[in-house]
Structure formats: C-alpha cells, structure tokens
C-alpha cells in the first residue's frame, strides 16, 4: 500500500511555486530549466514505458519522443491542470501509439550495451537462480510467465489504467484526467484488469 503514496510523491519537484517557475522559464526557452523538469519526472516516465511496453528499446524510444513532444509544445501548457497529469497524458498517448503499432512482439537480446558497459535485463528479474530453492524458482518463473501473459492479454486501456494505478500510484480520478475519461470509467477498466489477473493467477498464489 505504501507504493501508492510513495510513487505519487516520488521524483516530483516541490509542487507549486518552484515547479511553476521552472515551467515558465522553460517556456521562455531556458533549457536548464527544462532539464530540471525532465530530471524531476523522467524516472516515472521511463517506468511507465517499461511496464506498459515490457521492452527496454521501446521504453527508450518512448522516453525520447515524450520529452521532445513536451519540449516542443510546452508553450501550450496553460497551468489549467497539474504538470504531472499533462506529462503523463503525453507519455500514455505515446505508449498507446506504440501498443497499437506493435503487431508482433519483438524478441529482445538479453544483454544491451550502455555507456556504463553491458546491462543484462535478466538482472531486473527477481531472484530465481541456482542459489535459491529449485522448486520455488520454478514456481517463480512460471508465475512470471503467467503475469507476462495476462498483461499482454489486457486491452491497451486496461493495461494503462492498471499501470498508472498499481505501479505509478495515481489516484483513479487523476488517471481519468490523464486518459481523458472519467474516474468511473477508469475504475471499470481497473476492475476488468484485476478480474483478468484474478482469473489467470488465482490458482497460483
């Protein structure tokens, strides 16, 4: 339950004056101010992209496209909603485009090259290696596969609502605003998503 509140606060700059000053400066072309805004929110944006698209390559692309779109259209931001909501509206739209475009899920290499050397994406998967209990590891792996399958089986909107509620900690009202729908519609989407998970994972836990 802590996730809900912590994620919501995580990485945000002090709301109100400080953020508004940064936004106004960025709107006037101050690139330093824009970079501060990016740093305040980019972990969250990358997390949304990673969890929605389950692909580091796509998450990288979404990150770039989201912040470039924001950079180019920041002058249109009129402070009539929370900046975070506005930013998440952009990232969810970019992700939806990717989900719609992606007909076949690409296979990704296990190891990617980065500035700091190689990064193995399996390092991010919870412990299921030789040092653990083999039976537990097997169950863990099967559970992981089930979860991946059920996430893929959700509609784009269900997946989006689930991600924003479960992993990003946004309230249903904020999710409704982000996705341009109502709180009630977001609640229905969340209910459908959790029903599907219950059906797919209920016998496993």
């Amino acid at each position: 339950m802590t996730r809900e509140a912590t994620s919501a606060a995580d990485e945000s700059p002090a709301p109100g004056v400080e953020e508004a000053v940064l936004i106004r400066a960025a709107q006037k072309g101050d690139q330093d101010a824009f970079e501060q805004l990016v740093r305040a929110y980019d972990r969250g944006v990358l997390r949304v992209a990673m969890n929605l698209l389950r692909s580091t390559d796509d998450a990288y692309d979404v990150y770039q496209e989201t912040f470039l779109r924001v950079y180019k259209s920041l002058h249109l931001f009129r402070f009539d909603c929370n900046f975070r909501t506005w930013l998440y509206r952009v990232v969810t739209n970019v992700c939806l485009d990717y989900l719609r475009k992606r007909k076949v899920r690409r296979e990704e290499p296990a190891v990617i090259e980065t500035d700091e050397g190689q990064w193995n994406r399996m390092d991010n998967v919870p412990e299921e290696r030789a040092q653990g209990d083999p039976q537990r590891n097997l169950l863990n792996r099967q559970l992981g596969e089930r979860i991946e399958a059920v996430l893929k089986g959700l509609t784009a909107k269900e997946r989006m609502v689930f991600e924003l509620r479960h992993y990003q900690g946004l309230r249903l009202r904020a999710i409704g605003e982000t996705l341009g729908t109502t709180e009630e519609a977001a609640k229905t989407c969340l209910f459908r998503a959790t029903q599907k998970m219950r059906a797919a994972l209920g016998d496993f836990v």
Binding site: G29, Q36, P126
Partner: protein, 293 residues
C-alpha cells in the same frame, strides 16, 4: 455488503480507493465471512506477486536516455510564442544585443576549443550573458557571468569526494543533483555524518522526492530515538501525503505505545483520505482505538 460486492471491492480496498464508510462496511463483511477472507488473502497475494514483477528502469538505461535527450534538445528549438511576440515589438533593441551576445559566446567558444587540454586539469569557464544595456552613444554594455568548473574523479569513499557529496546533498539548488548525491552516499556504509545529512534532508529539503529518498535511507535506523523524533515531526508537519504515509510505515516498524497518541491526533486532523486510512489501520494493528476519548 454481500459477498459479490465485497469481491468487487478487493482491489479498490487494496488501492485505498474506497471511502471510509465503504471501507468500514467491507471490513465488517470480511470479519464475518470466511470465504471472502480467503479470497481476499488470495487477492493480496496476487498484488504482492505483481509488485515483485515491476519492471524498474536500470540506471544505465536512464543515463543513456538523459544523455541522448540532451543531444537532441541541443538541436531542437522549443516554440516560444511569448518571446517571438516580444521580438516583433522590439526588433531595434533586441537584434543588436542578440548579435553582440552571439559574438561574445562565439569568442568564448573559440577560446575553449582552440587548445586541447588534459581531462582532469581542465578548467573551463562557462559564460552567460546576464544583462544587456544599450547606451546613448550607440554602444551596448554586456554583463557576462563566468562560472569556473573543475572535475574531480575518485571513489565515493575518498574523503574529499565524500565531503563534496554531503555538501551537494545539503546545499545544491538542483533537486536532481541532491537526489543523485544522496543515492551514491546511501550505497556507502552508514556513518553518523550521513545519518545527520539524511535527517537534515528529511526536515529541510524542499523537494518531496529527495525527502522520500532520505526516509528510505533512514529505514535501518527507524528504531533510534532521534530518527523516530524526526519521523514524528514529518508525520505532523510535512505537507506531502506520500512522506506522511512513509513516516507511518517506518514508525510502525517498532510498535511503541508512544506513537498511539500521535496517530490518534493525526486521524483527527489529517486532510488526506489515504493517510487517514493508513493511520486508522496502524491504530487497529496496535489494538488502539481510532479516536481519542
């Protein structure tokens, strides 16, 4: 509430999306219905399994994203409606000043790039035009601000680097820099100096993300009196509900009588629905009454 509606509310309860009345009714039903209690336990286990499968962006990927975005931003112009409108009104003033600023920037850029220097003796000067004033003579007065940069490379445990990281955590005006410095320090063995810095950040840092990081890092010391004092203070004074929730969680790691009164006080005055619910739950976990009598 019947079994069907209770079942519909499993997730909403776990996400803290039920009203206080709905939550009470849900819990009342659960207390009297073994079937729903079992089903709810299964739902909680599913939530936990999903938590463990969250894909977190690895630090190298984030670093690559930031670096590449910066390169792209350098070649992308933002749209600035206000600035352009202003330009249209004041071309005679701005254009000569802008041209001169470009000449100054070009001059310094040429200075930096003309002579290659070794990496760690590099002493570049970053110049910014801070002020431009046309004079009656037709000349323009330009005020340039120079910032001298130095590079230091070393192990985070090196005394000088460690001191600089502590200073950056406390004093930098850049919240991202404060958070990153804190991350590096948190990966080092605990020390009183670090603990003091974390307590300072929890109380004084204006950025809730940084305060939250400080809270996370204080978890191993959650039983210490000075840390518990800071947590109680955060609980009552911090304006961020995420921080207040996390403070409750840390205080609850050591269930002491002393925090009951604090939680009861908070239940009465807390404006955030979620924090209030978390408070009530904490009191129930300690078999304490939710209200003060």
């Amino acid at each position: 509430m019947n079994c069907e509606s209770a079942s519909r509310n499993f997730s909403l309860f776990l996400y803290g999306e039920l009203s206080i009345e709905e939550e009470q009714s849900f819990q009342d039903h659960l207390e009297g219905c073994e079937g729903c209690r079992k089903a709810f336990a299964a739902e909680k286990a599913i939530h936990q399994a999903l938590d463990e499968r969250e894909k977190l962006p690895p630090a190298p990927l984030l670093a690559r994203c930031r670096r590449d975005l910066k390169l792209r931003l350098d070649t992308t112009a933002p749209r600035q409606a206000d600035w352009r409108a202003w330009l249209a009104w004041w071309p005679a003033l701005v254009r000569p000043a802008g041209a001169l600023a470009l000449v100054v920037v070009g001059f310094f850029a040429a200075r930096w790039t003309s002579a290659p220097r070794p990496d760690n003796s590099l002493d570049p000067v970053v110049s910014r035009v801070r002020y431009v004033q046309p004079e009656a003579s037709g000349k323009v007065r330009v005020v340039i601000e120079d910032t001298r940069q130095r590079f230091l490379t070393g192990d985070p445990g090196d005394e000088q680097i460690h001191r600089l990281l502590l200073a950056a955590t406390r004093e930098s005006s850049d919240a991202g820099l404060r958070a990153e410095s804190m991350d590096i320090l948190n990966a080092r063995p605990a020390s009183n100096e670090l603990r003091g810095t974390l307590l300072y950040a929890l109380e004084h840092d204006p950025n809730p993300g940084v305060r939250l990081k400080a809270l996370d890092a204080l978890k191993p010391y959650a039983g210490a009196p000075d840390v518990r004092g800071a947590l109680a203070k955060a609980l009552l004074a911090d304006d961020n509900p995420g921080i207040r929730t996390q403070a409750i969680d840390l205080l609850m790691l050591k269930k002491e009588e002393a925090i009951v009164g604090l939680l009861q006080e908070l239940v009465q005055k807390e404006g955030d629905n979620y924090v209030r619910l978390r408070c009530q739950r904490a009191l129930r976990e300690m078999d304490a009454s939710v209200g003060t009598f």
